[in-house]
C-alpha cells in the first residue's frame, strides 16, 4: 500500500496516542471480523476457508496418507507436510519459504504422534495445503486460523483391522464409509504491530505500512510458545523494539488466546 507523507504522518500520530486511535476504530486487542466456511472440499479430509473484511482470503485443505512409522524414525518422512501458495508470489521466494518453515516447525512440534497413530507399524501423515487467494496484510495469522479450523474439522477413515500388527504382518483396512474426527490441539500464531510505545493486534494494511516493527507470537493450549520473533511488516521504516513492549505484547496475546480459540471453535 502506498501512502502519502501526510497520510502516513496522520496515521502514525493517531496510532501513537494513548490509547491508540486505529483507522477502522478497533481497540488494541480487537480483530477484524472474519467469515468462515468448513468442509467444502469432498476430496480432502478437512478443509476450511476464512475471508477477512478487507477481502483477504485463505483456503486450507488437509489430506492424509498412511505411512510406516519406521520411515519417520529414520528421518525419511515427516508426520506433517506444509505447502503454501500465495497468489502473485513465486513459490521459491524467501517470503514463502519463511512461512513454510515457520508453520512446518510449529505443526510438527505440537501435533502429537499419538493423535495420528494407526497401528504399531503405521501412522497417518497429514498434508496441509494452504492457498492464499488474496492478502493485504501479513498472512501468517490468517493462515494459522484457517489451518486451525481445517485441522479441527478433519475426518480420517475409521480403522477396522487390529491395532496390534507387530506379530502378524497385516495391512491396515478401513471402514467403507465411517470416519473418525481428528482430536488434536492446534497451535495458532498472532501478529502484533509495534508503533512507538503502542502495540496493536492484527494490524491491517495501513497500520502495517506505518508500523515501526512487528512481532509474531505462537499460542498453544493456554501457553505462549515459539516462534516469538520480529517480522518485517513494511519495506523501509523499521525501528528497534523496546524489550518491555515484547513482554507487553506477549501478555496481550496471553489474555486473548483463549477467547480467540473459543470463537474459532464456535465457527465449526
Amino acid at each position: 500500500m502506498i501512502l502519502s507523507v501526510a497520510e502516513r504522518s496522520y496515521l502514525y500520530e493517531s496510532l501513537k496516542q494513548s490509547p491508540p486511535i486505529r483507522p477502522d476504530g478497533r481497540s488494541v486487542k480487537q480483530f477484524r471480523p472474519i467469515q468462515t466456511n468448513v468442509g467444502f472440499l469432498e476430496s480432502s479430509n478437512g478443509s476450511a476457508k476464512i475471508t477477512l473484511s478487507d477481502g483477504s482470503e485463505c483456503i486450507v485443505s488437509i489430506k492424509s496418507k498412511v505411512i510406516e512409522k519406521a520411515s519417520i524414525e529414520s528421518g525419511r518422512d515427516t508426520l506433517v507436510d506444509v505447502d503454501i501458495e500465495v497468489a502473485g508470489q513465486r513459490d521459491d521466494s524467501s517470503f514463502i519459504l519463511n512461512l513454510i518453515s515457520t508453520l512446518k516447525s510449529i505443526y510438527s512440534n505440537y501435533i502429537s504422534q499419538e493423535s495420528l497413530s494407526l497401528t504399531n507399524r503405521f501412522t497417518y501423515k497429514l498434508f496441509i495445503d494452504i492457498l492464499v487467494i488474496s492478502n493485504y496484510s501479513y498472512p501468517l495469522t490468517l493462515i494459522s486460523f484457517t489451518s486451525y479450523l481445517a485441522l479441527k474439522n478433519t475426518y480420517l477413515p475409521k480403522l477396522t483391522s487390529s491395532v496390534d500388527d507387530k506379530e502378524i504382518e497385516e495391512q491396515p483396512t478401513f471402514h467403507d464409509y465411517e470416519f473418525v474426527k481428528l482430536q488434536i490441539q492446534v497451535p495458532i500464531i498472532f501478529t502484533v504491530a509495534i508503533i512507538d510505545n503502542n502495540y496493536i493486534i492484527d494490524p491491517n494494511s495501513q497500520e502495517m505500512e506505518v508500523s515501526d516493527n512487528g512481532i509474531i507470537i505462537g499460542w498453544y493450549d493456554g501457553n505462549i510458545i515459539s516462534p516469538i520473533e520480529n517480522v518485517k511488516l513494511n519495506d523501509g521504516n523499521s525501528k528497534s523494539i523496546k524489550p518491555e513492549l515484547i513482554i507487553k505484547s506477549i501478555e496481550l496475546v496471553k489474555s486473548l488466546g483463549q477467547s480467540v480459540i473459543e470463537s474459532l471453535n464456535a465457527a465449526e
Partner: protein
Amino acid sequence: MSRFEIYSPEGLRVDGRRWNELRRFECRINTHPDSSDGSSYVEQGNSKVICIVNGPMEPSSKAEMSTSKATLKISLNVTPFSSIDRKKRSKNERRIQEIVTSLKRTFEQSIIVNKYPRTTISITLHVLALDGGLLSSITNAITLALIDAGIAMYDYISSVSAGFYNNTPLLDLNQLEESDVSFLTIGVVGKSEKLALLLLENKIPLDQLESVLAIAIAGGHRIRDLMDKEVRRHGDLRLSKLANK
C-alpha cells in the same frame, strides 16, 4: 480395458447419466468483490474452479505493453489437493503451459482487446477440485469473471467436452471417462455454431467427428444459458440494490 463399464448396454454411464446429459453445472459471479475487479466460481460436476480477474490496468513493465491492444496474463494454479491422490504440480509444467497458451489465444479473440490499448488484464485461476473437464470449467470461469469485470467481449465462450466411445458420442466427461475415452473440448461462441476453442488430444474417427461436435455444441449452448441465467440474476440483484438507494 477399464474396470468400469463406461457405457452400459442400457445406455447409462458410470455416474448414471445418459449420453447427452451434462453434469451438474453451478456458477456464481462476483464472489470476491473486495479483492478483484471481476470474479467467478464454477462447479462442473465435482470440479471446482475460482477465477479472479484484475484489470484492465497499467502493466507492471513497459515491455509487456502493446500500444494497440490489451495484453492478457493468465496464471493457472492447479492446487495439489485438487486430485484424489495429492500431487504437486508446477506452474511451469508443460501441460499447464499448453492450457494457458490455448486459453490466451481463445480470449485474445473473444475480448474486444483493441478497446483497451496499453493495459494488462490479469486472470488468475485456482482449481480447487478436479474431476475431469479441466479446460472446459476454466474457460467457463474466465468468461464469467470477465463479464463480472465489465470487460467488453463479443459473446459468451461456453465450453464443454465430448468424447466418442463404442460408436456413441458422450457429453461432458468426468475423470474416469476421460482416462478411457478419446475426447475433445470446444468453446462455443454464444448461440452460434462458431468455435473459439477446439482441443483434441487423442484420435476420433473423421466420419464420427461431426456427431461428437454436434452434441458438444448443443451442450455448449445449454451451458451458455445457465451462465446467462446467473449473470442476469446477479444483474437484477445489483439493480435492486441501486433502486433501493
